[in-house]
C-alpha cells in the first residue's frame, strides 16, 4: 500500500507549519492595488498567463489587461467567434468545412462529385473508388454506384477492415467508421454546423482525442462507445452512437475469484496522481 505507517510520536496539536511569519501590513507590495482591481489582485500579474485566447490566438499584454490576436477565421475578444463562410451553402453536392486557411472553408464532395463547389460529376466507378479489392458497379442513375466488398470489409468504399473495432469505451478508437447505429452519415468534425458544439476540430487537445478533419466516430467525452454528430436539418445537429464493432476480449483467468478477495487485503492502486490524459503544450 502507498500509505506509510503513521508517525508514532505524532500528537494532534503539534503541527508543522512552514509559512513565513512576516507581517502582511508591512509589505508594500501587498497594499498597492488599484481601485478597479479586486482587493487581492497582484500588480505584477501576467494577464496572458492562463492563455485566455482560444483557437490558437496570440495573447498580447495591454497594461493590466490583454488582447488576442486571432488566427482567421476566428475573432472576438478571446477568439471565440468563427466567421462562418459556409452559411450560404457554397458546396452543391458536398459538406462545407471550416478551415484555417484562405478562403476559410472547403467543400468535401460526395463521390462522384468534384470541383471546388462539388458541382461537377465524374463517371461513377472510373477510377475505381472501392478500396481493399472492392468491385464497383454503376447504377442506372449516373451518380450512383455500389462497392461489392471482399469478406470482412465493409463501408461505402470497403474502407472498414476487420481490425476496425474499439476496446473498452472506445476512447482510443482511431478507426474509419463514419455511420451511426441508425445508418446516418457522421458530420465532419470541422463542419460549420459544429462550430457552437463543445466537441469539434477546434476544441482544446482535439488531436489527443483523435479529432481532425474527418468524419470518423470518436469518443472524446468518455461516453461508453464511439459516437459522432449527425445533421438534423440545415441548422440543427444531434449526436448518435456509431455502428462500430467491439474488439474481441482476450480470456482472463478466474475473474470471479478475484472479485471475492477480502477487501482489507486489497492494496491501493499501483500508483497515484497520474492521469492517462496526455498534456500537450498549448499552441500560442
Amino acid at each position: 500500500s502507498f500509505i506509510a505507517p503513521p508517525d508514532p510520536d505524532w500528537t494532534p496539536d503539534d503541527y508543522y507549519y512552514s509559512y513565513e511569519q512576516s507581517s502582511p501590513d508591512e509589505d508594500p507590495s501587498v497594499t498597492q492595488t488599484t481601485p478597479e482591481n479586486p482587493d487581492w489582485y497582484y500588480e505584477d500579474d501576467d494577464p496572458c498567463q492562463s492563455n485566455p485566447c482560444e483557437h490558437g490566438g496570440d495573447c498580447i499584454i495591454r497594461g493590466d489587461t490583454f488582447s488576442c490576436s486571432c488566427p482567421a477565421p476566428f475573432s472576438g475578444s478571446r477568439c471565440q467567434t468563427a466567421q462562418n463562410k459556409c452559411k450560404d451553402n457554397p458546396c452543391v453536392h458536398g459538406d462545407c468545412l471550416i478551415t484555417q486557411k484562405h478562403p476559410y472553408y472547403r467543400c468535401a464532395c460526395k463521390y462522384p462529385y468534384t470541383g471546388p463547389d462539388c458541382s461537377k460529376v465524374l463517371p461513377a466507378c472510373r477510377p475505381n473508388p472501392c478500396q481493399n479489392g472492392g468491385v464497383c458497379s454503376r447504377h442506372r442513375r449516373r451518380s450512383r454506384f455500389t462497392c461489392a466488398c471482399p469478406d470482412q470489409y465493409k463501408g461505402k468504399f470497403c474502407e472498414i477492415g476487420p481490425d476496425d473495432c474499439y476496446v473498452g469505451d472506445g476512447y482510443s478508437y482511431r478507426g474509419k467508421v463514419s455511420k451511426t447505429v441508425n445508418q446516418n452519415p457522421c458530420l465532419y468534425w470541422n463542419s460549420h454546423l459544429l462550430l457552437q458544439e463543445t466537441y469539434n476540430m477546434f476544441m482544446e487537445d482535439a488531436e489527443t482525442h483523435g479529432i481532425a478533419e474527418h468524419n470518423f466516430c470518436r469518443n472524446p467525452d468518455g461516453d461508453h462507445k464511439p459516437w459522432c454528430f449527425v445533421k438534423v436539418n440545415s441548422e440543427k445537429v444531434k449526436w448518435e452512437y456509431c455502428d462500430v464493432t467491439v474488439c474481441p476480449v482476450p480470456d482472463t483467468p478466474n475473474p470471479v475469484e478475484s472479485l471475492l478477495e477480502p477487501v482489507m487485503e486489497l492494496p491501493g492502486f499501483e500508483s497515484c496522481g497520474k492521469t492517462e490524459v496526455a498534456e500537450h503544450a498549448v499552441k500560442r
Binding site: 502507498f2 500509505i3 503513521p6 489582485y41 485566455p52 467525452d221 478477495e261 497520474k274
Partner: protein, 241 residues
C-alpha cells in the same frame, strides 16, 4: 474539464432536498486517495450515511456514464477538532470509508484513479488545479465537471486587511486566480480537491472549504499537509492494520 483529467474527483450525492439547484442531488466534492477512502470537507458530512452516495469517474452528472462507479458509505470519520466559528469552518476535513460492492471498492480505470497525498509543502505562487460541479455565474450548479487553475497564496498575504483580515488559521491555505474575473471554487465544490503537480504527479494539497462570495477573493482550502498523520492513522486504524 475533459474526461479522465481529474480521475480522483468524487461527487457526493444525496436523495434529500437541497437548498441550491444542483444536478442529480450532487452537493459536495471529494478526492479518492485510496480505493476505499475519499477525502472531503467535514462541513459536507452533516448527513446520515444512508442518504449519501459516492460517485466516482463522473463527468456529466445528468448522463449515466459507463465508467461511473457508485458506492454507499460505510463510515464518516470527521476530524475531531472540526468546528465553525462565525460561520467559518476550521479543521474542515473528513474521511469517507466506502462500502465495498462485490468484495471490492473502487476499480482503477482511465476515469477512476487515486490522487497522492503530499509530503512536502508547495511554495506560494505554485499554479494548482481546482475542479467541481459547483455553482457558476448562472447561479446554479454545473452539470459538467469544470476545472480551472489557481495560484497558492501565502497565509500572511491572505490574512491581510484587504483579504481575510486574520481569519485564516494554519489549517487553511488560500488560492486564487490572478485573472479578472477570478476563477474560483463556489458552493457545491466543497470537499473537492485542490491538486498541485510535481514531476507529472498530482497531489491533493487542499480541500475546497470556504470563501467570501465566489471569484472576488481567493478561495480558502483545508491545508492537507497539516492532517497527514490524522489521515494515515485513521485509515490504518479502520483497516485494522
Amino acid at each position: 474539464s475533459t474526461a479522465g483529467k481529474h480521475p480522483w474527483q468524487v461527487s457526493l450525492q444525496t436523495s434529500l432536498p437541497l437548498t441550491t439547484s444542483m444536478p442529480q442531488g450532487h452537493f459536495c466534492g471529494g478526492a479518492l486517495i485510496h480505493p476505499c477512502w475519499v477525502l472531503t470537507a467535514a462541513h459536507c458530512t452533516d448527513i446520515n450515511t444512508k442518504h449519501l452516495k459516492v460517485v466516482l469517474g463522473d463527468q456529466d452528472l445528468k448522463k449515466t456514464e459507463s465508467h461511473e462507479q457508485t458506492f454507499r458509505v460505510e463510515k464518516i470519520l470527521k476530524y475531531s477538532q472540526y468546528n465553525e466559528r462565525d460561520e467559518i469552518p476550521h479543521n474542515d476535513i473528513a474521511l469517507l470509508k466506502l462500502k465495498p460492492v462485490g468484495g471490492h471498492c473502487a476499480l482503477e480505470s482511465r476515469y477512476v484513479k487515486t490522487v497522492c497525498l503530499p509530503s512536502d509543502p508547495f511554495p506560494s505562487g505554485t499554479e494548482c488545479h481546482i475542479s467541481g460541479w459547483g455553482v457558476t455565474e448562472t447561479g446554479e450548479g454545473s452539470r459538467q465537471l469544470l476545472d480551472a487553475k489557481v495560484k497558492l497564496i501565502a497565509n500572511p498575504l491572505c490574512n491581510s486587511r484587504q483579504l481575510y483580515d486574520h481569519t485564516i488559521d494554519d489549517s487553511m491555505i488560500c488560492a486564487g486566480n490572478l485573472q479578472k474575473p477570478g476563477s474560483d471554487t463556489c458552493q457545491g465544490d466543497s470537499g473537492g480537491p485542490l491538486t498541485c503537480e510535481k514531476d507529472g504527479t498530482y497531489y491533493v494539497y487542499g480541500i475546497v472549504s470556504w470563501g467570501q462570495e465566489c471569484g472576488k477573493k481567493p478561495g480558502v482550502y483545508t491545508q492537507v499537509t497539516k492532517f497527514l498523520n490524522w489521515i494515515k492513522t485513521t485509515m490504518h486504524r479502520e483497516a485494522g492494520l
